[in-house]
Amino acid sequence: MQDVDKIVNGKDLFKKPEYQETLTNKKQFEGGMGALNPAKVEEVAEWTTTWEYREKNLAREAITVNPAKACQPLGAVMVALGFENTMPYVHGSHGCVAYFRSYFTRHFKEPTPCVSDSMTEDAAVFGGLVNMKDGLKNCAAVYKPDMIMVSTTCMAEVIGDDLYAFSIAAKEEDQEDGGKYLPEDYPIPYAHTPSFVGSHITGYDNMMQGTMNQLTDGNVDKENKKERINIIPGFETYIGSIRSVKAMVEAFDYDYIMLGDHSDQWDMPAGSYNMFAGGTKIADAKDCANSKATITLQKYSTVKTMKLMKRWKQEKVELNPIGLKGTDEFLMKLSELTGKEVPEALKVERGRLVDAMQDSYPYMHGKKFAIWGDPDFLLGVVSFLLEMGAEPTHVLCHNAPRGWEAEMRALLDTSPAKDSLNVWAGKDLWHMRSLIFTEPVDFMIGNSYGKELMRDTGTPLIYVGFPIFDRHHLHRYSISGYDGGLNLLTWITNKVLDQLDEDTKGIATTDYFFDLIR
């Protein structure tokens, strides 16, 4: 029973003897092996750690277990929230939108506005035209966004709804009412984002491509380009990273457009609530074809989008400012594009990061890491690990696009330890479990889904990635630029030191190595 002076929640409540008795008592009714024969559970658990199990596990062809990817419309929602006063609108059933909203909200601890047009059985049979007409009108009337960005769920994709025709029809119908909610020039960019193709980064790409293509329609000057660059962050879940990139460009004192800037939307100050904050100005987005270059910071999240540059006769640049080298390359390219030298302040910042790397390297050198995440994120962070002399033993990308595996292999081949470094494209986190049991690592770098791997394999997890549900505020930091490099270095080094203390804290056994100074 609770003690009123020390009320405890489930963490300690169920440790109380009366609850332990209840839980033990419950087993007599259970049919699970844990109740029937615990020894058998131990035996099978042990078997899952073996090479034999690993072979069987890696031979899987059909079932995915504990994936490290999500579906297209999630990425499309992110794109929409990077534009000024823009409502993401998902054409399909509303259950999907409930999922996208809760998924992002659990990660950012911020509201995530997004509507759906609630298609149900009748729409599955007759198509979703009525839903879209009503939905666009209601959304515009109630939330008053300046733009509505339409993507699709797999339901709408399977029945083959025509988004362009539907949005025209919605506007036409509204014109009869005087264009009250959807004036003729109201922007409704759209993209087809089928969940059964690619992953969330494919959806990001499709929505960004659709938006840029449609908003610039009729405003592409192929001859005269402005002294201005576009930057596309990609499926960037680090708010601080977007700010770091902006700060770097601003240090060059050069005009730029951040296309899809959700850094204010998912980082609103307390005090009052406005549904939308910050974002790329719609006018800027409409003019982006006339900038002299577009830089993508995640080339694998923008494959289709970056094909627009050829048509626009605009320079296309692919960079990845995570880690020292990635940031160096980013700044050198900015220097080239702007015709200006790298600003002094950034040179100093670089010096400080290198100084910090030289202070901490003994703790990362030779340490083995398992890491998973999106393709561009992995290229950046693995590059940083190599810069520190660490060994990324298992690099796993569930949503690896074409070309990624070879590029990652080439990167790992620059390491002296290359023969023991492995790339796992298209594999999931249940594969990762087998890999870690059979070829152990010192640390894991990944998202919250690594939590069960941490429990099962005993390998410490350094939280970097998306989604992170069970650690707070990490997304507010940067992992890009020199300042982002310093964050990565700090998180990783201090986790290594925490673990060193953990391993040596045994009183009168190992605590001779429990050093005060490290």
Partner: protein, 490 residues
């Protein structure tokens, strides 16, 4: 504030809120919003609201889908089975381990609740059909997870649209292997909310668990006169555990939990119990009615939120049994009373008079009202994401004062009602949480207990009281306004 003025304010708010909509939407939403009172005998449902209808498109509903109702709610917590999210990758990922269905077991070996199994449909599966892939999925699962006691196939939207026959595929595989394979046609576009998913899932339990031939899972349970099952408790944060302990203390034997911390065997053996105890009426009344009709097992609804309702429910349950149980029931009530008195004495003065607005799912929009009122708090608005008429009828008995009733409330409406009625606390889900916290309003998630709980039973009430105090009386809400913006301060 007198009760009249509260009601008038609420009615004005309702009228005001509807003004923002285009005509067709306003007409629709008007039927789903009302003001209800405990004395209101004329209304068919609380606030005379209509429910379980299609959501107005484009308004940011909080509703989920049939898949969420089946995989997320009813089947997902059954711990010794593997639940395949059958279709594209997203649904399983977004719903993974989000509900806090606690269980004891070795995850990945003999229990699987927090894992995500997906058939990860690709374009070729949509074009050519995914039945062969499903068979392969079932084989691979049995190869790698030999201690699973069965597999459910939770259909995502495309399955029903492309004409896959998961029922035939499952049947063939089950016949070949002798395992329990449950196909569930819970495509997300079916119905208007997660509610239909509950119903579909209930029906599959009837067809595949009660009427199926299950492989042996140890000895059959010897029955007693005091066997009961907990139905519709998903053990969120351990709720079913802090409930069963009370039932056990009063001499009953809880032989099954549906479906938090459940094993297939417990569910299969439920038709042998003497009484079904139904907590979440919305999601499991179907199977309770079926067991009543088919096996003659009576069922009663109970409410373990807050001491007043807990005591009423304990006595109601005891009344089904003999005097020995009734006597023990009184002993249990007497045993916990001093603790509850102390909890109330500690927290009521800190919470009394604080007003609350709720918006939750199955049973909580009405069931938790009593717990707030036990602490002297006043619930002035409530509504269901996916309730039906019978839920709104039952709500009439649980409200204490004039209350705004909003069915399938959307982001705009909830925000508008909160701004107009200015409650001290909003209690709803994760999607709305930060909207209200930005405004400086204390907030508690009432689906996940905000990562705390359990809230059921006596021990749960103590946690509930402590958490509400934590939310309302935390110093953090005072920081929203900067000193230079505070009136009358330099």
């Amino acid at each position: 504030m007198g009760p009249e003025s509260l009601e008038a304010k609420q009615k004005a708010a309702v009228e005001e809120v509807l003004k923002a909509y285009p005509e067709k939407a306003a007409k629709n939403r008007a039927k789903h919003i009302g003001v209800g009172g405990p004395e209101d005998e004329s209304a068919k449902t609380c606030g005379n609201v209509r429910s379980n209808k299609k959501t107005v498109p484009g308004v940011m509903s909080q509703r989920g889908c049939a898949y969420a109702g089946s995989k997320g709610v009813v089947w997902g917590p059954v711990k010794d089975m593997i639940h395949i999210s059958h279709g594209p990758i997203g649904c399983g990922q977004y719903s993974r381990a989000g509900r806090r269905n606690y269980y004891i077991g070795t995850t990945g070996v003999d229990t699987f609740v927090t894992m995500n199994f997906s058939s990860d449909f690709q374009e070729k599966d949509i074009v050519f059909g995914g039945d062969k892939k499903l068979t392969k999925c079932l084989e691979e699962i049995d190869g790698l997870f030999p201690l699973n006691n069965g597999i459910t196939v939770q259909s995502e939207c495309p399955i029903g649209l492309i004409g896959d026959d998961i029922n035939a595929t499952s049947k063939i595989y089950a016949k070949e292997t002798g395992s329990t394979i449950v196909p569930v046609n819970c495509e997300g576009f079916r119905g208007v909310s997660q509610s239909l998913g509950h119903h579909i899932a209930n029906d599959t339990i009837r067809d595949y668990v009660f009427e199926g031939s299950l492989p042996s899972m140890g000895e059959a349970i010897e029955t007693t006169e005091y066997d009961v099952a907990i139905i519709g408790d998903y053990n969120i944060g351990g709720d079913a555990w802090s409930s069963r302990i009370l039932l056990e203390e009063m001499g009953l034997r809880v032989t099954a939990q549906w479906s938090g911390d459940a094993t297939l065997k417990e569910m299969a053996q439920t038709p042998k119990v003497k009484l079904n105890l139904l907590h979440c009426y919305r999601s499991m009344n179907y199977i309770s009615r079926h067991m009543e009709k088919e096996y003659g097992i009576p069922w009663i609804e109970y409410n373990f939120f807050g001491p007043t309702q807990t005591i009423t429910s304990l006595r109601k349950i005891a009344a089904f049994f003999d005097e020995s149980i009734q006597a023990k029931c009184e002993e249990v009530i007497a045993k916990y009373q001093p603790m509850i008195d102390a909890v109330t004495a500690k927290y009521k003065p800190r919470l009394e008079g604080k007003q609350v607005m709720l918006f939750v799912g199955g049973l909580r929009p009405r069931h938790v009202i009593g717990a707030y009122e036990d602490l002297g708090m006043e619930v002035i608005g409530t509504g269901y994401e996916f309730g039906h008429d019978d839920d709104y009828k039952r709500t009439k008995d649980e409200i204490f004062r004039s209350t705004v009733i909003y069915d399938d409330v959307n982001e705009y409406e909830l925000e508008a009602f909160v701004k107009k009625l200015q409650p001290d606390l909003v209690a709803s889900g994760i999607k709305e949480k930060y909207v209200f916290q930005k405004m400086g309003l204390p907030y508690r998630q009432m689906h996940s207990w905000d990562y705390s709980g359990p809230y059921h039973g006596y021990d749960g009430f103590a946690i509930f009281a402590q958490d509400m105090d934590l939310a309302l009386n935390s110093p953090v809400w005072d920081h929203s306004t900067a000193p230079w913006d505070k009136e009358g301060e330099a």
